[in-house]
């Protein structure tokens, strides 16, 4: 569900459609459509409708006009949650992107030991967010955790008890979980860059740095857009990781929008306002996806290698 990349989408029928003998196979798509409408499209409309109602999650759903929106929009909790969400998205993007590019470039190399590195390296991808959050919660314990283990007193902080530190921990753990994924994407992309480009550069006397900035980075442009879309749109939905790691705390220092929605809805039983936040999440997500798409110059599957 981090798969929020509009980027990799391209319009469907083309070559083969024309040559087919005119049979309509629409019925084959019906089961998929039924499932997706029932639990994808209807909920999407539903979240908008529910934002104009009052519902405690158990009783009847009562239409109540703009009450929920008024209460959400006048609540200082909303700008705070948006600010926290923005910080998490921006900081984790800033940390993850250069790391993932450098690691991806490195892992794309041919040496055997790099393949070995890669095996261990991708393990975080396999773990659930709940497992990762629980592990770090215990590992960052000020008394029995990492600080004691490494004998580094400055690592023995109350990591999850201080608002600023907790936010930093969230960004770090998010990165720990997702840097391998993004390096994997970059590794694949780097391997597709034709070696002839590097040879030409070498003949021209370009050094390693120069090659990286003049060939590798520009060639990775589409991948950077795709990866950034996934990072940023995905960060809107970091629910489980933060819920288990900090539950939004201390105070509400790490209460991102998704968590705010869950807490209002399922803990405070205010489904109307929670749905309003759901609508905001959907809109922000769509907006960001479109923005990144624009940045990428439309069709991202079109190869950048053409004419190389």
């Amino acid at each position: 569900m981090t798969a929020a990349s509009v980027g990799s989408a391209r319009p469907a029928p083309s070559r083969s459609a024309k040559s087919v003998h005119g049979r309509s196979l629409g019925w084959l798509a019906v089961p998929a459509l039924v499932f997706f409408v029932a639990f994808g499209v209807i909920p999407l409309i539903g979240v908008l409708l529910l934002s104009f109602t009052t519902w405690d999650g158990i009783g009847e759903v009562v239409p109540s006009g703009l009450t929920s929106w008024k209460s959400v929009l006048s609540d200082p909790g909303l700008p705070h949650a948006m600010w926290v969400t923005f910080q998490v998205a921006a900081l984790s993007w800033l940390f993850q992107t250069p790391m993932s590019i450098l690691l991806g470039v490195f892992l794309a190399g041919a040496q055997k030991y790099r393949a070995f590195l890669a095996v261990l390296y991708f393990i975080p991808l396999l773990l659930s967010s709940a497992a990762i959050a629980i592990t770090f919660k215990a590992l960052l314990d000020p008394n029995f955790g990492i600080g004691t283990g490494l004998g580094l007193p400055f690592m023995s902080q109350d990591w999850l008890g201080e608002p600023k530190l907790a936010l930093g921990v969230v960004v770090f753990v998010v990165s720990w979980q997702f840097i391998p994924f993004h390096s994997l994407i970059y590794q694949g992309a780097v391997r597709q860059i034709p070696t002839s480009m590097y040879e030409a550069a070498q003949i021209d006397g370009a050094g390693r740095m120069r090659q990286f900035f003049s060939i590798t980075l520009p060639q990775l442009k589409n991948t950077i857009v795709t990866s950034s879309t996934l990072m940023v749109v995905g960060s809107l939905t970091f629910f489980d990781l933060i819920y288990v790691l900090t539950a939004g705390g201390p105070g509400d220092a790490t209460r991102v929008l998704a968590l705010d929605m869950y807490k209002r809805g399922f803990q405070a039983n205010l489904m109307g306002p929670a749905s309003a936040i759901g609508v905001i999440l959907v809109l922000v997500g769509l907006l960001l996806a479109l923005l990144f798409r624009r940045l990428g110059g439309g069709d991202q599957t079109a190869s950048q290698l053409e004419g190389a």
Partner: protein, 282 residues
């Protein structure tokens, strides 16, 4: 292939920055995993007195016993039921839809289906959890495993259709034509030609969805409440709430929940990794 002359010229100078960084990050990745393993075989009292990164002098499986006795076998099977029950239908219906989208003559119905599914890629579906909850209640499915399966299928469809249709598009048209000349119906072509030819993509999509659903937390948290219906991530979380200070037991639980996936990783690393980036790198 690794030793072609081009490659050697390309890596002649050492990539110091990348090298240092990747060893450093490897350390960051491995340290917690190493710590999980060694701590899970410590006794609870040993945990409080020994250095966290020094392996136990008297390893014990007590933590694992506690985890197993706490019902994790049942939770494991719940996870298996939900994952298998959601992934197989999701991949099948996605495959059929992808085939229709690519192979059918142009039709408004398929065009709009495709458009709706593409839109589904751009939307954070978790944001619609409240109406999903309402629908599940109204269907009288609240607190059942089916309540987890149905939305999981729906959430898996958009990306699966995208990846599979990109793949089916690459099947040469001549193959379809020859099937038609042999008198096969589209339905037969679907299973006899498209299915075997699309197998790598099917494996990829299956793995990707299975991993996502196996590790899913929000749906079980919201849509079930009975202890005997817990799936592993949820069970892990409640276990942590119950045995807060028994860190070895918690970490044993973490390791056990990840074990099936880690085993799969050892067996089919390549396919697992390509499954993870399905649709993003092609």
């Amino acid at each position: 292939m690794a030793d072609t002359p081009q490659k050697t010229t390309r890596i002649r100078s050492t990539n110091w920055i990348g090298g240092t960084l990747s060893w450093f990050w490897l350390f960051i990745v491995i340290l917690p995993i190493y710590w999980i393993v060694i701590t899970s075989i410590k006794s609870q009292s040993e945990y409080f007195v020994t250095n966290p990164f020094v392996p136990s002098s008297e390893p014990t499986l007590d933590a694992y016993r506690l985890v197993i006795e706490s019902g994790f076998i049942r939770y494991f099977f719940n996870s298996v039921i939900v994952t298998v029950g959601a992934v197989i239908p999701a991949v099948l219906v996605s495959f059929m839809a992808a085939f229709a989208i690519i192979r059918s003559r142009p039709h408004w119905f398929l065009k709009s289906t495709n458009a709706v599914l593409l839109m589904g890629l751009a939307i954070p579906l978790q944001a619609t959890i409240i109406p999903v909850y309402l629908i599940i209640i109204r269907l009288h499915l609240y607190d059942t495993l089916l309540a987890l399966i149905l939305p999981s299928i729906a959430f898996a469809i958009p990306l699966s259709v995208l990846v599979l249709s990109n793949f089916i598009r690459d099947v040469p048209n001549e193959l379809f034509e020859s099937m038609r000349l042999d008198g096969c119906s589209e339905w037969q072509t679907l299973w006899r030609l498209a299915l075997p030819l699309t197998r790598p993509a099917l494996v990829t999509v299956t793995i990707y969805n299975a991993l996502l659903i196996w590790n899913g937390f929000l749906l079980p948290l919201v849509l079930t409440q009975s202890p005997n219906l817990r799936v592993l991530p949820l069970a892990l979380w409640t276990f942590q709430g119950q045995y807060g200070i028994n860190v070895p037991a918690i970490l044993a639980a973490v390791l056990l929940t990840a074990l099936p996936i880690l085993a799969l990783y050892v067996v089919g690393r390549r396919q697992l990794l390509s499954g993870l980036t399905a649709g993003f790198t092609k």
